[in-house]
Each structure stands twice: as C-alpha cells, then as structure tokens.
Amino acid sequence: MSAHVPLTRKDFASDQEVRWCPGCGDYAILAAVQRVLPEVVEKRENTVFVSGIGCSSRFPYYMNTYGFHTIHGRAPAIATGLKLANPELDVWVITGDGDGLSIGGNHFLHVLRRNVDLQILLFNNQIYGLTKGQYSPTSVVGKVTPSTPFGSVDAPVIPAQVALGAAARFVARGFDVSKELPEVLRRAHQHRGASFVEILQNCPVFNDGAFVQITDRKEGPAHQLWLEHGKPMRFGVNNEKGIRLNPKTLAAEVVTIGEDGVTEDDILVHDETNRTMAWLLSSLPGVVALGVLYCDPAPSYDSAVVAQNELAKNKLGEPSIDALLNSGETWTVQ
C-alpha cells in the first residue's frame, strides 16, 4: 500500500459483515467516519480504533484500520497507554453512554483532564442496547425499561457538561443522520488533545425516537442550533430565533427576533473558546446546540510526556546498566 495513492472510503471498510440492528443509528455514524478518514488520514496503518463494550464498541471490527475491542469502560485508559507507547498513532476511542459514563466514568474523567491526544466519540442512545434495554446514565427520568418497570428515578447526566467539568478542551455534538456530522468529526480530528464528540444516536429497538425532536425531517431543523464560531447563534425554520443571555439569571434563553423588542444585536455571538458559554450551550430549553461547543487547545498530555522523557535523557545522559548498578555505596570483597 503506497502512501501516494489517495485513500478512499472503501479503504476503510473491513471485510466484516456489519451486524447492528436494521435501522440502527450506528450505520450512519460508521458511514460518516469512513467518509471523513480518507480526507484526514495520510497513513491508514497509523489509524487505530479502540473501543470498550456495547453496541457502539463493535465499531472497530468494521474499520479496515488497526483496532482493539477491549473491556467494558476501559477504552480511554487503553488508548492512553497506546498513545504514550507510540505518539505517532492517530487514535480514536469509540464508546457509548453506558460504557463511557457509567462503568468507564472514571477513565472518561481522567482522559479528558489529562488532555490525551485522542478523538473520543460517545454514541449516546440513552439506553443499554447490548444487554437488552435497561436504562442508562443518560436516560430520562421515568424511563420504563426491564430494570425500571415503574420508570427510572435516576437523574441523568448531560455528557457535554461532564466533559466540560472534566476540563475537556474540545467538546462537540452531532447526531447520527445529520449531514453535518462529517464536518464535526473533521474538527475533532484537527484538534490536538482530547476531542470529545457526543453523537446522539437512535436505538430503533430499545429507545426509538429518543431524539425525534431534532431528527424529525420536518420538525427537527427548528430545534437544531448549529454553532459557528464568531456568528450569532440563530436558528428556526426562518432563522427567526436566537440565544440571548439573561443577565439577571446568567442563563441562556431562547428569544424570537422582532418579538418583545428583541433585535439581532441581542443575540449572543458564539465564541468557541469561551468555557462559560459552552456550559450555557450544553443544555438549552427546547433546542439542542450542535457542532463545536468548545475548542480551546492546550498542550496534550502525550506531548508533555514525550518532552519530559527527552528532558530526562538530556539531563541524565546515555543509559548504562553498569553505571546504575554501581551507583551509590558499594564495596569490594577480595
């Protein structure tokens, strides 16, 4: 395989039959990733997909790259070791709401705060699919499932808020069937450091229509706020709505331009380097912020580790086993 021949979508599809349920949102995500990779990847052999356990975690088997289908929740930790062993690799972590936020919650926190240079794609379908339909840490209160026949009483987490709380430097959101998803993935790949992308994904078997408010072909677009850095945050069928900061409550609110004296000047302009704004956007009333919520790069963990290893080599010189064993107090017996 020569690096000069441009890679295509087909180069990234493995010979394995894809075995998600018919209509699963994962198909669309797989297609989006396979579409983006030829554009952003120079050497296929340097691309690695690491996953945990769950429906989403079958993903690596369908990619014709290096792949590691690991154990439940631990993909971020395995990817961290992989990246430190070979920082040249382009490592993607595939996880889900159960794998990433429940059993793997601890690793999710630490991989983000360390800022390891990885793309972390969290497929959020608000349900446990592979174990047949129990509620997940993102399921809505009242969710009736086999393990919650009277409805779930657990309060859900908002993945983007967990990521921001864990000091992530890149937080984005998309949904399975959106045509903008490839662009979100492109931005995530471009970012050096941990890039967190929540992908809202429909589970047609156990949680069908969880995101219908935004994915519905007709009604959906009215509830999607696609973010663009430096642009006023407007949305709606006729682009008539926008986000305004209420200075009294420090909350973001949805307003309609032309109503109640609201003008275009009242609409917040998206600044993706602003953490506070990202927090406000992570949970909006009646509308879902999509695209890049937050992007403010900082040196990645792996680059800092490499730098420190180099520093140690420069300071301590060529390693010598003999010198090491003979260091400190020694004595000779004749």
Binding site: M63, Y66, G67, I71, G81, L89, S320, T332
Partner: protein, 624 residues
C-alpha cells in the same frame, strides 16, 4: 573520631548480632535502621534486614499501634534471614518496649530512652506501673539512658526549634550503636549532609547528636555486662557488592530489560503499599526508555499497560493483592489478545485491605487461577531481594517470547528488606530478542510460532497488517470473531499449551540443599527462602535426612517435580498463607504435600520450621 581499629581488635568477637530499633512511627527508626545497614555493609558483614512499620504514617505519638521497627541481622558468616530473636532491642518509648519486648532474647541487651517514659506515655502504652522500676525487666541487660535530654544538650548550639531538636535523638542512638559494634560514622555523616543540603544547621545538629551518642559509649560508665563488641567481616564470594531491596532490584531489572530488548517500556501503576516504591524508582529511570504513568486507578494502570503493549512497547503494571483483584478482567483481556505484559504483585496480608504493611504469600491462588474463564499465565517468584533483578528480566523475556501476560510474585518482606548483593556484570546479561511482524503475506494476528505457540506481534503503524483484536474469542486462522464451539475448545487448549511451553526455557526441578531422596522434602517459594534454607541446614547438621527445594516457577511447575517428591517419605510446604502451594501441588502432582502455614503478617522464624520438621519426623517414628 571513630574508635581506633586497634581498640576494636581487642573487643569481644561475636559471630552474629540481631538488633531491633523500635520507636514511634515519627521517630525516624527506618532511617536509623537503613543507616546502620549501610555502615554494616561497608564493614564487610553479611546482613539481612526487616523493616516492620504501621500503615498509619504518623499514628498518634506514644501509642502501641504507632510503633515502627527495623530489625537487622549481621554476621561474619553467610546469613539469609533478619534473625529469629533480637539480641539487642532499642526502645525509644514505652509503646516500643511494650510491643517489642516479647521478641527480645532472654538475657538480651535492652537499651531504653527513659526521657520518653513520662506517665502520659506509660499510660498510652498500657502500663500500670513503670517497667523501668517495677523489676519486670530483670533477666535482660538493661541500659537506661535519657536519650531525649542528652540529644537536646548535644544540639543546643544549633538553636533548633524544640521539634527539630527532639528529632535528632535517632541519630544519637545510632551513634551509640556505632560505638557498640565498631561501625564507621562517616557514611552517615555524608548522608546527613546530602539529605539536609538545604538546611545545613539540621545536618550539623544531627551529626552532633550522632557524635554525642558515640562519645557517650566511649566515656560513660556503663554497667559491666555491657561491653562493646566486634563482628568480623564475612567470607562473601569475591566481587563488588551493594545493598539492595526487592522493589529497587525489580525497577533496575526492568530498566536493564528495556536496554536488553531495545524496545520502549511502559510502567502503568496506581500507588499501593508495598508496591509504590517500584513506581518511584522507575520514574527516575526514564532515560532507560521507561515511560511511567500514574494511572487514575488499578484498572487504568493495567489497561494503559495493555494499550502500550498493543502499540509495541512492553507494558508493565505493579500492585499488591487488592490491585490484582481489580485488574483481573484486564489480565484476561491480555491473555485473550495474547499480548506481552508483566504484572508485579508485591503481596501483603489479605483478604480485602488486610494487613497493608505486613507480608504474606496469600495471592498464589489469585495469581494462578484468579480470573474468569480458563485463563492460564506464567507465574514466577524470586526468593530474595537480589533475585528480583534477574526475575524482572526473566518476566520480560517470557512475556515477549511467548506473547503472554506474566505474573511476578514478590511480597512486602522481599520488597522492603535489604541484603548485600553482588553486582552482576551487565555485559554478561543476555539480550532479549524482539521480532515485530512486518510481512503482510499470509498475515493473520493468530499466526503462531510452531515451537512456542506464541502469536505474531504486529504493532499499529505497520503497513499492510491492519487488523482487529479484542476480548471476544477469535478464529484460530482468520483472527475474526468466532463463536464456533470447536474453535473455542481449540483456542483454549492452545493458550494453555503455550503457557506450558514456557518450560522450554526454565530449568527442571532442582534441590537447593540435601540428597535427592530422604525423609522430608521441604518445598518453599518466595521470601521464605532464607528461613527454610537455614532450618534445613540446621536439621541436616543434626543428621536429619531433610532436603530443600525452592520453587521459583509456580506456573508452569518445573519438570521432574513429581518424581522428586516421590523419593521422599514426607513433603512439607511451609508458606505464609493457609496452604495454597500445598493444595496446588496436591492438585497438580497427586503428591501428599503437607502444609505448614503461618498467617501472622510476619516471616517465618528458622526455629519454627526446625520444630515443625522435628515434630513430623518424631510422629512418623512413633507411628512406625
């Protein structure tokens, strides 16, 4: 100045001495002990040490549970244990006396710091009456000194605060002990100047205390039954020596292995007693090509190491028993994906949190069998601190050659004990061969070496070898997911056979001591080596037909072990657990291995093993 050597020559000559230093955990007993060890090593004695400290970093002062101890055994001959009973006990306060007096040999020398025997301290230690005056210490050679006051007098010129001044009393005590056994003070003076380089007044005050203790010995009117002694040099094999403890030897072994294999090493770990110092040592050795990573938990520690191994580095993780329990699922992943990995288990008392700072050998079952599924892996166990160096290299060699995780079992005793170690010649260490697979022709991730059954190591970044591995069973040919019944059966047997094949590079069962047939074969493993070895030596001197075999390779067991066991009337297995190795031997070899368990958080005493074997021999005699 130090006592002139002509003076020391005239002293009473002792073959061996066991000293135990005991005080509050904040009294600096560990430093006192290690300093005495260094001075003793430099005098040319053989030695063995046993630090015994509480889990609390600074337990409330004066309490019995806050007592920290350090025992050193040094001699003019070859020794292998820190000694059964101290000849000398240094007790810095009532609690230290209370906890340690039962261990002191009858008639032993007891040095007590009367300055700490306040009524409050006596009460905290649980004494109704002052043992220094109630006659309960008769039968010991008692030396009562107000070390606290003498130390404060000695450091007065340095105008330290009360706390800093008081903390010099361990150096005063060390000075006295140096005088008593004719040790050179200079290495400790150098140590203090280096340790307190940024606070020279502390260095000088400590040195003044050290000197004052020494002068006290020289000039004070000591009771006539307390005389300075000398312990001549030991006849050690010629060579250059140093002292080393187990965790340091492991760290250095891994650094050496990184150089011998010429591949990157990755150590992922989460702090846990008594394994943490392994991380501390390796973190200083980055220039050997070792990346260290303090993970967020035990699982992330092993997971990161597995990720590193997938990436072509050698992943290592180190922990103690509770950590191995958490790592179990990930160890299974490394077994299933057949990646090289080394898991160091520095065992401690269990189960659960157990006895974190005490030693035990109770993770044997966990190491050999503690995973879901049929999940075998090689388990090896060095017998001494010095052997840890070789075993780090051996573990690396096995992991890479057989593409398997390896568990290296040590324990708190090996990890913390220091012994003189003859420094090996690095140029004689055998290189570790690493072959990454690069040929796309006919590639499958489960392509195996027909001799070892190791699969190929195809690391990401290699063009044309893009493939997927994972915890789900894979087809033996294609490497794709497979639920085929016959394939799972075949893969399970293949993984087991691969581990058995490690025997290819391990020696057969070999006796340490004694004839290859007799009345009793004593089988030990790990840190019980010294006590068993010396017990068998004593028994043999009495004419008993006893032999010693020490297992350094627990899984697979060495070839020829069953046959060897069969040539003895009895097989006895002393171990610091409730009979785990004995059960394993019974299960694997169908031999009547009898357990001699000790589960006290403490190493065996030589005497205990001698008595056990004598009793068994006598019973056999009666039943005949």
């Amino acid at each position: 100045m130090d006592t002139p050597s002509t003076e020391i020559e005239k002293r009473e000559e002792l073959e061996s001495v066991v000293i135990r230093f005991a005080g509050d955990s904040g009294d600096g007993m560990q430093i006192t002990g290690t300093q005495f060890s260094t001075a003793t090593a430099l005098m040319g004695n053989d030695l063995s040490t046993f630090p015994d400290f509480p889990a609390e970093i600074r337990a409330p002062a004066g309490t019995t549970y806050g007592v920290s101890g350090f025992q050193i055994h040094f001699a003019s001959h070859d020794i292998k244990t820190p000694g059964d009973e101290p000849d000398v006990l240094v007790a810095m306060n009532p609690a230290a006396l209370k906890v340690n007096l039962p261990a002191l040999k009858k008639g032993g020398l007891l040095i007590v710091n009367s300055g700490a025997f306040s009524s409050a301290n006596l009460e905290k230690a649980g004494y109704d009456k002052d043992p220094l005056t109630d006659g309960s210490l008769e039968g010991y050679r008692l030396l009562v000194i107000d070390i606290t006051k003498l130390t404060l007098d000695a450091v007065k010129p340095f105008k330290l605060g009360a706390k800093d001044a008081g903390r010099c009393k361990n150096m005063w005590t060390l000075g006295l002990m140096y005088w008593l056994y004719g040790r050179d003070r200079q290495p400790s003076i150098d140590f203090l100047r280096a340790k307190f380089a940024k606070r020279p007044e502390l260095a000088e005050a400590n040195i003044a205390a050290l000197n004052a203790g020494h002068i006290y010995g020289d000039t004070a009117d000591l009771p006539t039954d307390i005389t300075p002694a000398r312990v001549p040099r030991a006849e050690l094999a010629p060579g250059k020596y140093r002292t080393i403890d187990g965790n340091q030897a492991l760290a250095w072994g891994f650094a050496a292995a990184a150089q011998l294999s010429k591949i990157p090493f990755f150590y992922g770990s989460y702090p846990i007693t008594p394994a943490s110092t392994l991380l501390h040592h390796l973190a200083k050795l980055k220039h050997f090509g070792v990346t260290t990573f303090q993970a967020e938990d035990e699982i992330a520690a092993i997971a990161s190491a597995i990720g590193a191994s997938f990436g072509g580095a050698l992943g290592i993780t180190g922990t103690s028993g509770p950590g191995v329990a958490l790592k179990g699922e990930a160890i299974g992943l490394a077994i299933m994906t057949e990646l090289p990995l080394v898991i160091v288990d520095v065992q401690r008392g269990g189960p659960s949190t157990g006895l974190p700072t005490k030693t035990e050998q109770s993770d044997l079952f966990q190491a050999v069998w503690g995973r879901n599924g049929d999940a075998p892996l090689p388990v090896i166990a060095p017998a001494t601190p010095g052997e840890c160096f070789d075993f780090a290299i051996l573990a690396t060699r096995i992991a890479i050659k057989y593409m398997t995780p390896v568990i290296l079992l040590t324990d708190g005793f090996i990890a913390n004990s220091a012994e003189p170690w003859r420094i090996p010649d690095a140029s004689k260490l055998e290189p570790i061969e690493v072959k990454y697979h690069t040929d796309p022709e006919g590639f499958s991730p489960f392509k195996r070496d027909p001799e070892t059954l190791a699969r190929v190591w195809a690391k990401p970044g290699t063009p044309g070898l893009e493939h997927r591995i994972g915890g789900i069973e894979k087809d033996s040919n294609s490497g794709h997911i497979s639920y085929d019944p016959a394939n799972h059966h075949k893969m399970t047997l293949t993984r087991a056979q691969k581990v058995q094949n490690v025997r290819q590079i391990l020696p057969p069962a070999t006796l340490e001591q004694g004839e290859s047939q007799g009345d009793v074969l004593v089988i030990g493993w790990g840190s019980t080596y010294g006590a068993i070895s010396q017990a068998v030596e004593q028994l043999r001197k009495r004419g008993r037909r006893v032999s010693h075999l020490h297992l350094r390779h627990i899984w697979p067991l060495p070839a020829g072990l069953k046959e060897l066991c069969g040539r003895f009337d009895q097989v006895v297995v002393p171990e610091l657990n409730n009979g785990q190795l004995a059960r394993l031997l019974r299960a694997e070899l169908l031999v009547d291995a009898q357990s001699f368990p000790k589960i006290a958080g403490q190493p065996f005493k030589i005497r205990e093993i001698v008595e056990e074997i004598e009793n068994r021999l006598a019973q056999k005699e009666v039943s005949r």
